[in-house]
């Protein structure tokens, strides 16, 4: 139907949105099929704004958004048939039961999969006939996820699906996402400020800070190119001068610095030094901790 690259589920180009006290600046991301993209950012960094702009729940100022090659919002009906969205607060009607919600929503989707819905309801023990307002927070999130997946979407957009949930429910949600991408034509974009969730299941990591994308990269190569470099003793003086190291600090035993081009550093560096891998959490704090404070 469209002459776009079938491997790209979501393309965001030059997305801009200005508020009085906040600005989303020139956001570019791509979600390839078969991947889970973790969208990391501190609270208020612009994660929700971007997700809402993709769903056209808020009007963007500029930019081009394409889902499966179809542009938003021009082809919003066709796009929304292929997208499942879970907002930062559940959009379920509190006065309705899950049963009512599902039987309402199913009329809008041609590819609704009732079997999968029943399976997930049972797997997650989501009560069918209780009012949404009587469900716990974790249940509401699970119910929203089931609803978002019921029409077999190609792309899932999840805004902080795991925040505020207990570890058991969080694990269940992550499992559900891994289950979802077993079909390689699908993809997930989920925002979070919980780095360990992203580190666990995401293939791609996108970090946003203060309305700007810092990087969007596959997780393995990202963690590969960053290292903490420890230079013992006083001999580190010269190495610290190199532009390959940043955030250098002298500590009791020598110097500690960080590099984002470890392969290059390995070739250039001489003398005594050792390197340590960073966890995604350490990396996230390193890159976003200073700014905006």
């Amino acid at each position: 139907m469209n002459n776009h690259d079938e491997r790209t589920l979501l393309e965001v180009n030059g997305l801009t949105k200005s508020y009085l006290d906040f600005q989303l600046r020139d956001v570019n991301i791509q979600v390839p099929a078969g991947t889970i993209m973790g969208f990391l950012g501190r609270n208020g960094a612009g994660k929700s704004t971007m997700m809402k702009a993709i769903m056209d729940l808020i009007k963007r100022d500029e930019g081009d958004i394409r889902v499966l090659g179809m542009s938003m919002p021009e082809e919003e009906v066709a796009v929304k048939e292929q997208v499942g969205y879970v907002g930062d607060t559940p959009l379920l009607n509190n006065a309705w039961t899950m049963e009512r919600t599902l039987s309402f929503a199913r009329h809008f989707y041609p590819n609704w999969d009732q079997e999968a819905v029943d399976r997930n309801l049972e797997r997650f023990q989501v009560p069918f006939d209780k009012k949404i307002s009587e469900l716990s927070k974790g249940m509401k999130v699970k119910a929203s996820l089931i609803l978002a997946m019921a029409h077999q979407p190609k792309l899932l957009l999840l805004d902080e699906p795991t925040s505020g949930l207990d570890p058991v429910v969080r694990t269940e949600v992550l499992e559900l996402l891994l289950d979802f991408v077993q079909d390689e034509s699908r993809g997930v974009l989920f925002s979070s400020h919980i780095t360990s969730d992203v580190e666990k299941i995401a293939d791609w990591v996108t970090v946003i800070n203060d309305g700007e994308i810092l990087f969007s990269e596959d997780k393995e190569s990202l963690l590969d190119r960053y290292r903490r470099i420890v230079i013992p003793g006083n001999g580190g003086g010269k190495a610290v001068e190199t532009p390959l190291l940043f955030n250098c600090q002298s500590t009791m035993g020598g110097y500690v610095g960080y590099t984002d081009r470890f392969d290059r550093f390995q070739k250039v560096a001489s003398g005594k030094w050792r390197s340590e891998r960073l966890t995604l959490e350490e990396l996230f704090v390193l890159l976003t901790g200073r700014k905006g404070e």
């Binding site: 729940l57 607060t89 959009l91 509190n94 309402f104 929503a105 809008f108």
Partner: protein, 156 residues
Amino acid sequence: MNMLMQREMEGDVASGFGDKAVSYMLFGIISILLTWVLGPKVTGVFDINSMNQLVSIMCLLITVSSMSSKLEEDHANRQLSFLQTLPVSKRQIVHVKFQHLLLNGCLMFVWLSVVTSVNLFISKSWTLESWIQVWGFTVYRNNGPASLFLERLSGP
């Protein structure tokens, strides 16, 4: 589209019946109090036309309040956002809202017509003119174009 309309209509009859009953009761009590305070002479409620006008105003207010409460409920549950995540265009959502409004208006018109007609019939003074007068007052107030039109119509 059908489902969207059903959803809009749902609030009118089924859900929140208790809430609605309370608001109707309150409304009734307030209007009775009002007539009591103002006294029958001032408002002239025993006059057939005034009675009709009172009924009309009440009916209008009830309709407006029920529609706005539906909007408030949707807002509280973020249902408009939810509807926007469904594969329907925004234009459709607005359309349905508007149609529902129109439908409510029509229903109100029919109901009012029946009540005022009955009222006029009972007092055996039903004429087209007095029937239109109720509407002229309710919808356009005294200086609206309709009342001008009515003045011309009733003429010297």
